[in-house]
């Protein structure tokens, strides 16, 4: 049915379209429903938790790669961060604010290892409507957000291993989610040279 004569093509390429300001919104439930389908579909494709997290991370990575390009262009006047702390605060502030409507709760440097940083969120958007069944152990849907972070960092030239973890909070019913970022050696060596 599609493709009958008399087509009107408004733009010959998506690149010719004016870039939206990014203020449009959809309902949170629309996103929650969609995300839940993403998780459920990926559950049918794997036979263990690690694999499921890896697949969610992959999906997130693809989002992160696009987010970097889009936000650098729109929010940063086409400038990309080249320093470690610059890119981390870009993730913690700009990326979080546009995607999740708020700056991330905290950004900390790991105390034990020089190459580790943590972004923590009391109630991560993707974990809001999720409860993890006992038999799924440490599974964390935050893997998707970890993937977004890795996608941004990797494409900005800061390869890192990024993982999501639940951290129990005293006096709180639900644990917070910590996104652990472990940078590759080359990143730290380069950073040291730049000082």
């Amino acid at each position: 049915m599609i493709g009958v004569g008399g087509k009107i093509k408004q733009y010959s390429s998506v690149l010719e379209k004016p870039l939206s300001k990014g203020r449009q919104e959809v309902s949170l439930s629309a996103f929650a429903f969609l995300f839940s389908e993403l998780v459920q579909y990926n559950q049918t494709q794997v036979d263990n938790i690690a694999e499921l997290e890896r697949r969610l991370e992959d999906a997130g990575y693809a989002v992160g790669a696009r987010v970097l390009e889009l936000f650098c262009h729109r929010e940063k006047g086409n400038r990309r961060e080249t320093r470690l702390l610059g890119i981390l605060s870009f993730v913690h502030t700009t990326v979080w604010k546009v995607l999740f409507g708020k700056v991330a709760d905290s950004l900390e440097k790991g105390t034990e290892h020089e190459d580790e940083y943590m972004i923590s969120e009391k109630e991560l958007l993707v974990n809001r409507f999720i409860s993890i069944p006992k038999d799924m152990g440490t599974f964390n849907c935050g893997a998707f957000v970890a993937g977004i972070v890795r996608g941004v960092l990797d494409n900005a030239g800061f390869p890192a291993v990024v993982t999501a973890h639940f951290v129990p909070m005293e006096g709180q019913q639900r644990p917070r989610t910590t996104i652990l970022i472990k940078f590759a050696d080359e990143v730290l060596r380069r950073e040291a040279r730049l000082v």
Partner: protein, 186 residues
């Protein structure tokens, strides 16, 4: 009887929690890409997207009824108006128009000019058979099935295929009579 003009979904949309549409769009894009990688066949991807939409529709209708204060629609015409003006608005923040009724009043088109799913999207040559937004048709079908309407939903126009709008053709197959009294669970 003329269908009652339903109120718009603006007020409902203003009151629900919202997220940035780009997060939604890019997440959907990630899903479609994953399906294309896993399933390889564009036809299979269309099917899977429709199935995911159906699963969503079946669950989404509860929230829709709870939050919109819409009660039973008198006929399919009113149902279509409610989907277009309240349903789409409430979840996606856009409204559709209802047109092209057939004489029996059982088939109509939902036309979308704005579609938050397709921002940043361009179909490559290898995906020309893909109905990128097929999840939407599944949602409509699933949601209507929960209010006893069996429908067939298909795409007639798609801007990613070069048309000037998105047009979903919704055909009422049959209205399943509700059984009353409801059977107790055994």
């Amino acid at each position: 009887m003329a269908p009652v003009v339903p109120r718009s979904g603006d007020a409902v949309f203003a009151n629900v929690e919202r997220v940035n549409a780009e997060l939604f769009t890019l997440t959907y894009g990630a899903i479609v890409r994953q399906l294309l990688t896993d399933l390889e066949e564009v036809e299979e991807v269309n099917k899977q997207l429709d199935q995911m939409g159906y699963n969503i529709g079946v669950r989404l209708i509860d929230e829709f009824l709870a939050k919109s204060n819409i009660s039973r629609c008198v006929d399919f015409k009113e149902t279509a108006e409610v989907i277009a003006k309240v349903g789409f608005k409430m979840f996606l923040g856009v409204t559709a128009t209802v047109t092209n009724w057939d004489v029996e009043g059982t088939t109509c088109s939902l036309v979308l000019e704005d579609n938050p799913l397709v921002e940043f999207v361009e179909l490559p040559d290898t995906c020309q058979g893909l109905y990128y937004c097929n999840i939407l048709s599944g949602v409509v079908r699933g949601a209507l099935e929960m209010v006893s309407m069996k429908t067939e939903v298909s795409w007639v126009r798609d801007m990613l295929h070069g048309d000037d709008a998105y047009e979903l053709r919704v055909k009422l197959i049959k209205q399943v009579p509700e059984e009353y009294p409801y059977k107790d669970d055994e």
